[in-house]
Symmetry: C2
DNA sequence: CGCAGTATTGAAATTTCTCAAGCCGAGTGG
DNA sequence: CCACTCGGCTTGAGAAATTTCAATACTGCG
């Protein structure tokens, strides 16, 4: 783990657990005992500097990362040394729960800006999931949404126009930022250079630049100084061909029939 | 479900459960009670005709599909009506366990050839996972490998040359076929037309054709009549930049292992 | 045998990338 | 306060890759 460790008081640790509970509740309905179990998770908070790797391809971490602040990215390292960015993560995301069951990491995780993460020991999570199946199901669901986002990324880089790809990434990030209550005046943080966007979207830096200009000139959206500003959502959405179903933001539609649900 | 139903005897049902157990065992270590529980799963076997959809984007299935025979594919439907293929599935795969927790399907599932599937009711799986956390973990892991494959697909369509993309798809399918013991004389089934390959790899039909010829002329691999024939694995692997780690074939060590390890 | 679907080929049209130069804004030091 | 520098953004133009179009060959099947 190439990060700066930082000791934290119990108060912060409690607020980390509370955020974790809030995130989990987006994916399941819990019994009081489930909530207690989640809140008893002990984590370590760490600051990560921009550009720093948190875990690398090939490693076998024994902790899972929980994002508190800033933006993280997952990426593959190609034979020529370049990166392929796979996903971007914000407050409330758990970018590597999969490491709990898939011991060897098949990709790396890095910070894109000055970020803050909590580190959750695998053994604690494993205990939690064994004792509280309802909680396990919620976290399982979380990893399934993750997979749905990857599927969209395949379609995005494979089938959409350059402008559509960029617009789709903007839509997705904006929607997810909104869910995490991180938007303000139709804007959210997106600390990526055009070159990095290119490495996420399978486009050259120049192509990213030109697609960006189309969106800007049409007053649809703008990306400046690491910030995404949405001017006209319907057009952005249309250009992207964006359908937010795959983000599965509405858990009630999905899990209402779960047996352990209080509401039945 | 647009499939042809078919009544089956208990013997077949038992053998479906046995295959399910074998697949699950690739992802976990079970107690006797776990095994009993898996073997008690009741399923329905169905035949699916080539090209038929099994479940469609937007639907809310109450069963999960288990592939017994033939090949299935998941795909997104684009605004212009075209398809983006996301993944291909063979005997032993569970292409839509995620529907257990993500009720609204964000993609469709279809058969590519004459296939046979078993249909596992969600409520049975839910019961099984609630009662046997160890089994739940194994199936969870299975969905995580699925996600890892999607991540590779992003990199494949986004960052590799046309020839590399095709080679990588070949490597992946061949490795997975080998794991499922479906290879014979360095060949396996891959019932896709060049046009369909294009819709999986983000290339035009013509580009697929030309990439195919390069591989064929160099005696690396060949694809004819829905069958993939590998002539020289090391070259195929090199062209693809293929590293099988992401398939997580070895559950215990999670160490990358080649299908041709006998020859190095 | 002939059909239908698939594969192959060539060449023009288009997109996309690469290269290379200039620009802009923030931070730095004289 | 301004010149300087650095990284990232913008621009233009030629080179290269890719798609499209269109015609031709092949293959399995009825």
């Amino acid at each position: 783990m190439v990060v700066m460790a930082k000791q934290v008081d119990n108060l912060t640790q409690r607020s980390v657990a509370e955020l974790l509970l809030a995130v989990a509740e987006r994916h399941g309905t819990f019994l009081p005992a489930d909530e207690t179990a989640i809140l008893s998770i002990r984590s370590q908070v760490r600051a990560v500097t921009a550009e720093a790797d948190i875990v690398r391809q090939g490693e076998r971490p024994d902790v899972a990362v929980f994002v508190l602040k800033g933006m993280l990215a997952r990426y593959h390292t190609l034979a020529n040394g370049e990166r392929q960015y796979l996903s971007f993560h914000i407050r409330g995301d758990l970018p590597d729960v999969q490491s709990l069951f898939l011991n060897v990491l098949d990709h790396s995780l890095c910070a894109l800006d000055q970020a803050q993460i909590a580190v959750l020991p695998h053994h604690q999570l494993r205990d939690l999931f064994l004792r509280r199946p309802g909680v396990a199901f919620a976290f399982w669901r979380l990893t399934l949404v993750d997979a749905a986002i990857f599927r969209q990324a395949i379609t995005n880089v494979s089938a959409r126009s350059h402008e559509g790809r960029l617009a789709h990434l903007f839509c997705e990030q904006y929607c997810r930022a909104e869910e995490a209550q991180l938007t303000e005046d139709s804007a959210c943080s997106l600390p990526l250079s055009q070159g990095q966007l290119g490495h996420a979207l399978g486009m050259s830096l120049v192509s990213v630049n030109r697609a960006m200009q189309k969106l800007r000139r049409r007053r649809v959206a703008e990306h400046r100084a690491g910030r995404l500003q949405v001017f006209y959502w319907p057009a952005l959405r249309r250009i992207a061909g964006f359908d937010p179903t795959y983000l599965h933001l509405d858990k009630s539609a999905d899990i209402s029939r779960m047996p352990f649900s209080r509401r039945g």
